[in-house]
Symmetry: C2
């Protein structure tokens, strides 16, 4: 049956279609377009399925927009704000962002930018109107030119760019609209008042929807991103050492091995999230002034560790192979260094996740350093090992070429251990700044089981969703 169908289609393609050349190419064009479209839709659908919060965000935008449109549809509300209701709709579209932090940042900037510019434009207009008809356009024009240039310049200044970029844009926008329209419209005060009130309506609606309905907190995203990257770094490090010394199948653990690249590439994301997180109110276990900037420092030390792992992986894949004898001698301790530093990284991740000072961390760091020292000593004592071998059997000197790779791996592992210590320092600074409480030991825990500082099931759910999502991406 299937065969018949296929044959039928082929016959048709060979028959009538070939005769009508244009229709044929048209047909193939449409079918290729269709298959492209299908692929595109499938890809888009996968984006949403991998992170359902993106679907939810779209629904939230729809809800906010439909809600604000009510100002137009409902007669009494319309009479209140009149034609300016348009500004509420506009505000919702422009201000509503994916994370709550971004929405609040834009809302606050929009309100203050509009108000400040409105007042200033009003002042300029007043001065201009006193100056007489001849000077009025000159004063208005000159002030517009000067203020627009100055504000545009202020957007190049890093601190302003990070916090008030949108506000500066809105400032120029409002100032020019008010001062320009002020030249024609005499009911300036009324206009400004109505516009500000519609903007406040729009922004409040946005802030309410984005913080109350399944909010996406920039702070939480940053928190999960950084802890996730710590875990990925740990996996890479452990996998790296194990793969080299145990000659594991590379393909199997390749995905784990490449995790460090996430840490290397997330600088821009971390910075934008940290910038937005500072606008967010206290949420979950984070206070209003949670030290988000410290996450950036942790990110920087992680990247420096990740570049070392990158170099290590490069050296492992290089051509100089090490003799099996030395590998055997070094193997156990090297894997131990890899495991121990991975343990430290995982403990750091769990410290940040739990927001409790770890009581195992010190021991783990000592273990890691001891393992690194042991590895160095093993390498130092290598001539002795060699000598013993010489006494025992006929082996003379191992050519240095067979040492190159193992020495490099050991040396890079020591460097990685040193850089992991930098991460430890940064995380400890974070735990001081954010006033993490000390973790209770197990016996304490049973005593104080259900009293102190517990994560509510809801909060835990939220965080688990974020974590799952980021793992899928």
């Amino acid at each position: 049956m299937t065969n018949e169908k296929v044959e039928w289609r082929i016959q048709v393609e060979d028959g009538p279609w070939k005769r009508a050349g244009i229709s044929c190419s048209m047909w193939s064009f449409i079918s290729s377009l269709y298959s492209k479209l299908c692929k595109f839709v499938k890809k888009a659908w996968e984006i949403g399925v991998n992170d359902p919060r993106k679907f939810i965000h779209c629904l939230k935008v729809g809800i906010a927009l439909t809600a604000v449109s009510l100002f137009y549809y409902l007669k009494p509300l319309y009479d209140g704000v009149g034609r300016n209701a348009m500004w509420a709709v506009m505000t919702v579209i422009v201000v509503f962002e994916y994370t709550a932090g971004a929405t609040i940042y834009k809302s606050v900037n929009r309100i203050f930018g509009t108000t400040l510019a409105g007042l200033l434009a009003f002042g300029v207009h007043w001065v201009a109107s006193k100056a007489g008809d001849q000077w009025e356009p000159v004063i208005v024009g000159a002030s517009l030119f000067l203020l627009a240039s100055a504000t545009t310049f202020s957007r190049f200044i890093p601190t302003i760019k990070a916090r008030f970029d949108y506000g500066a844009l809105i400032f120029i926008l409002t100032f020019s609209l008010v001062s320009v329209s002020g030249y024609r419209v005499d009911e300036l005060f009324n206009l400004a008042q109505q516009r500000i009130s519609t903007i406040i309506i729009g922004t409040s609606l946005c802030i309410i929807v984005s913080t109350a309905v399944l909010p996406v907190w920039a702070g939480l995203e940053l928190h999960v991103l950084v802890t996730g990257n710590l875990d990925k770094l740990a996996n890479s490090l452990q996998g790296c050492a194990a793969q080299y010394f145990e000659a594991q199948a590379a393909s199997e653990s390749n995905k784990n091995l490449m995790g460090y690249k996430c840490a290397l590439n997330s600088k821009a994301t971390e910075e934008s999230l940290a910038n937005l997180a500072r606008w967010e109110p206290a949420h979950g276990r984070f206070n209003f002034r949670h030290p988000w900037k410290q996450y950036l420092k942790i990110g920087a030390t992680m990247r420096s560790c990740a570049s070392c792992i990158d170099a290590l992986i490069g050296c492992i894949n290089s051509e100089n192979k090490t003799s099996d004898d030395i590998m055997k001698i070094m193997s156990r301790t090297s894997i131990k260094v890899g495991d121990n530093s991975a343990n430290v990284l995982r403990e750091l991740a769990s410290t940040i996740k739990k927001m409790k000072k770890s009581n195992k961390l010190d021991i783990l760091v000592i273990e890691m350093n001891n393992a690194a020292l042991e590895l160095q000593n093993l390498l130092k004592s290598y001539p002795n090992t060699q000598k013993n071998a010489k006494d025992g059997d006929a082996k003379l000197e191992i050519p240095i070429i067979e040492l190159i790779q193992v020495v490099t791996v050991v040396s890079l592992l020591s460097e990685i251990v040193a850089r992991v210590e930098d991460i430890v320092k940064c995380v400890e600074e974070l735990s001081d700044l954010a006033k993490f409480k000390p973790e209770m030991s197990k016996c304490d825990k049973t005593k104080q089981h259900s009293t102190d500082n517990k994560i509510s099931p809801d909060q835990q759910n939220d965080e688990e969703t974020v974590i799952k999502t980021l793992q899928m991406v």
Copy 2:
């Protein structure tokens, strides 16, 4: 005289100010505020002085804005477009960006987003008006909800995010404004037409000012950024090898040494510039479809090389010091590897700068590989060197601890050489994609001196300005 003055001030501070405690603290508050303000202004001024194009950009914004305000001030123009002139002003403020590419991207997105949304809203409005009074708000509301959600979702799709993010925003904005206001205003067609014409006026003005008056091309910025990073990488690499083996004063060349960090950190900038550059028309020596994406690949290989340099610098600063004897043996060849790979990187930078296929590159790559091979051989032959030494004088075996660092440095240098070759491949791909012409040898040059494909003095000036600026930053 100075002494007296100081004393007088101290007396005053001790005297009347202390009695009035509030004034005193107020005074110190104001003075600290004043000094902060001074610092801020100084910093801002320096930003502008380091890159005068930022000052120029502000003036350009001022000019464009004042020009578009003429629609309000001049009576005949005002009568043409009416109250909708506001949209021209708004367009200029929102669309005018620092680089020409960004301005064109936003302009095109704004025009197409507005037109498409306007047509669609018009269609929906027509359907709704045919459906009767009862169904009209339902149809308008539902279409608004659906389209807003779908368009918001499309902004999560990477390809759309990179090219049409702003267009999608404008699409939602216009669709809701038109469909919502359509419910009240009956002169919808006129409104849409006027609005689109004002937007076209605004965007054309922006595009003209940003491409004609001292334009800042995103493509040129990217080009200069990538070639600059190649040079910085070369300096770092050369400095690194030289500092280690010649024990140069670290502080002196520290700035040069840290240049590789620029390459490590410019991923986000490169990506945004490449995204914007594709909107730019042919300018200078770049065609409309110049392969900007290839610059991103070059950037990625540069970062991988920079990671290795980062690890190398870490190892150089580690505690294991190498004995002077080995250093002496390895020194010359290692520095040669550093110099040769730096030469390759510089030749790559000059290839991209001149946009001519280099005729020295192959030789330089061979020289670099030979030097790397020589270094490896030197290390391999080390036992022999050692034996000779043993025969000559009393030295027995050099403990392996003294070898660790030098072996690591050599091994990382080989890895860096391998990664430099990746950069070479990427640059060669670029030269194929962008159809670089082969460079003329010197004798050819004298023949064809003033005929073919010369850079005009103007173009050269432009590029020199960009290069100088980026060097200062």
